[in-house]
């Protein structure tokens, strides 16, 4: 799930959703703009819901800078090879 790093996180999505709602609810927009905002918003909702449906916690022990290994015995630990920390 290293693709997560390039995707906006929940925080970003929810912040953007708030902005969209404020605009959509308060501003006089062209129908076209309103529709675009609406579609963007629904997209964020869908992606956020997808994030929420993630099944298991990923737990890694950090051994050194950029080096991690999955921590065994953690609840919902997903199997994964030792690798570099994202970003």
């Amino acid at each position: 799930m290293s693709d997560d790093a390039t995707q906006p996180g929940l925080e970003t999505r929810l912040q953007r959703l708030e902005q969209i709602l404020v605009k959509l609810e308060a501003e006089e927009l062209d129908l076209e703009d309103a529709l675009a905002l609406f579609e963007e918003g629904i997209g964020h909702v869908r992606e956020a819901e997808k994030t929420l449906s993630t099944a298991a916690l990923r737990v890694e022990e950090v051994l050194g800078e950029g080096v991690t290994r999955p921590l065994e015995g953690s609840p919902g630990t997903t199997a994964g090879a030792t690798g570099r920390v994202d970003s």
Partner: protein, 478 residues
């Protein structure tokens, strides 16, 4: 122990006159003598001890008799050597006892006691044989009162950090609402980590957790914790950091009252949640952290939202999005439909004041005209009444005249003339009523019934009695 600056003068000289606990002393002295009793002491003269023998015997005797005792007094000349061992004296008004606290025990002290501080020591009496120095080997040092030294150390550090503003509420940062990655500095084998992971898994399984292992108690623990915090601060891979451990004694939790740990937390660019021990335990880490969680589980709850709540919120957002779009569309449709009506309203709004002004003007004008008209009417009515009054007068005059004419007719001299009367008239038409109005020889006219007769006066014969000519007519009516 080469660095033990033992004072030989504090050596044990009158060991056997001391009063050791009964029985123990007797037994150990029996042992001491028993070891050496392989020859008859009287046979070869007095028993002569080597110094080492004496010191060893005394040490053994002391250690056997004075093991695990508590001694209280005032600390003086505290010295922590480079090796980590601590040397000091315990004294009261009349006596002094040399003491040593080995490094492993000294490391567990929250701070060095101040000179003059009232403390109690748990330890054993012993003799440093090399110098024959009597001393107490302390294993534990406590300041007066329970946790006295700990509390004191805590307060001192708290005051110090507070003085630097590190405990200020202004420094507290808001935690991210939806962290992607949570860092944890704790022991990977501890109960605290299990609790944290279990809560994170239940509430927010999409979270990534990075754990930096650190011993959380004992010597070196504070440094490992501080290093762990600094590690995450430097790598910046996480959104929020939990630092903590499960419950334990004051001493067990002491690493979290360490200045180094406190400063690492204060310096962290990432918000830190401190979760040490149980609810009642408050540490310096808790005070410096952006949030103090009462337990590790509570820390986990504080850093991530609950999936169910979030799902509900997202559902609500979806509804609001739909509704907002729909109401935008509706509003536009309404506006379109409303166009003509709104235009009419706008025009009306413009016209209304004009109308009003017109109406006012009209009203005023009307009132003026009416008042003028009503004036004229009044005048006309007056004239009418006047006219009517005149008519009445005229009519009555006419009636009067008619009456008079009748009467006149009745009185007309012409009617009289018919009966034979004649009226003398002068040449200029005057009625000649009196004698004196005649002159002899002067012609006059006689008006008779059917014409005029020319006549001439012959003679005048006036009467004696005369009448008022003005009343003649009226008097004749009767």
């Amino acid at each position: 122990m080469a660095d033990s600056p033992q004072d030989p003068e504090n050596g044990v000289l009158d060991l056997f006159s001391a009063v050791p606990p009964s029985g123990v002393a007797a037994e150990s002295s029996a042992m001491a003598t028993g070891d050496k009793a392989d020859a008859d002491p009287e046979a070869d003269g007095p028993r002569v001890w080597s110094v080492a023998e004496v010191n060893r015997a005394v040490r053994e005797h002391l250690e056997a008799g004075f093991s695990g005792i508590w001694v209280s007094g005032e600390v003086s000349n505290w010295k922590r050597a480079g090796s980590g061992h601590c040397y000091f004296s315990l004294r009261d008004d009349s006596a002094e006892l040399r003491c040593v606290l080995w490094r492993s025990d000294a490391a567990r002290l929250p701070m060095d006691p101040d000179d003059g501080m009232e403390v109690r020591l748990l330890g054993d009496l012993t003799l440093y044989e090399a110098r024959g120095a009597f001393q107490m080997r302390a294993r534990k040092l406590e300041a007066a009162g329970e946790d006295g030294l700990w509390r004191l150390a805590f307060e001192r550090l708290r005051e110090k950090l507070e003085g630097e503003g590190l405990l200020s509420p202004d420094r507290k940062r808001r935690l991210p609402r939806f962290p992607r990655t949570v860092g944890v500095v704790t022991s990977t084998t501890g109960a605290a980590l299990r609790d944290i992971l279990s809560v994170l898994h239940r509430r927010a399984p999409w979270t990534r957790v990075l754990v930096r292992n650190a011993r959380v108690q004992g010597e070196g623990a504070a440094k490992e914790i501080a290093d762990g915090i600094r590690f995450f601060a430097a790598t910046g891979d996480i959104d929020v950091l939990i630092v903590g451990r499960g419950g334990g004694s004051v001493e067990d939790l002491w690493s979290f009252n360490d200045e180094g740990v406190a400063r690492a937390i204060a310096a962290s660019p990432i918000p830190v949640v401190s979760a040490v021990g149980h609810e009642v335990d408050v540490t310096i880490s808790d005070l410096v952290a952006d949030l103090r969680a009462p337990t590790p589980s509570a820390a986990a709850e504080a850093v991530v939202p609950e999936a169910e709540t979030l799902r509900g919120q997202l559902g609500a957002v979806r509804t609001r999005l739909r509704r907002a779009l729909q109401s935008g569309v509706d509003a536009r449709r309404r506006r379109l439909a409303d166009g003509p009506r709104r235009l009419a309203r706008a025009i009306q709004a413009r016209i209304r004041p004009l109308e009003h002004r017109t109406e006012t003007a009209h009203r005023r004008l009307g009132a003026g005209i009416r008042s003028v008209l009503s004036d004229r009417g009044r005048r006309i009515r007056v004239q009418e009444r006047l006219g009517r009054a005149m008519d009445v007068r005229i009519r009555s005059r006419r009636d009067q005249l008619t009456g008079l004419a009748g009467r006149l007719q009745a009185l007309s001299p012409l009617a009289t003339l018919e009966r034979g009367y004649a009226i003398p008239l002068s040449s200029d038409g005057h009625v000649l009523r009196r004698v004196e109005e005649f002159s002899p020889g002067v012609p006059f006219h006689l008006r008779v019934h059917d014409g005029t007769v020319e006549a001439r006066v012959d003679a005048l014969h006036p009467n004696d009695d005369t009448e008022d000519p003005d009343d003649g007519r009226g008097r004749r009516d009767e």
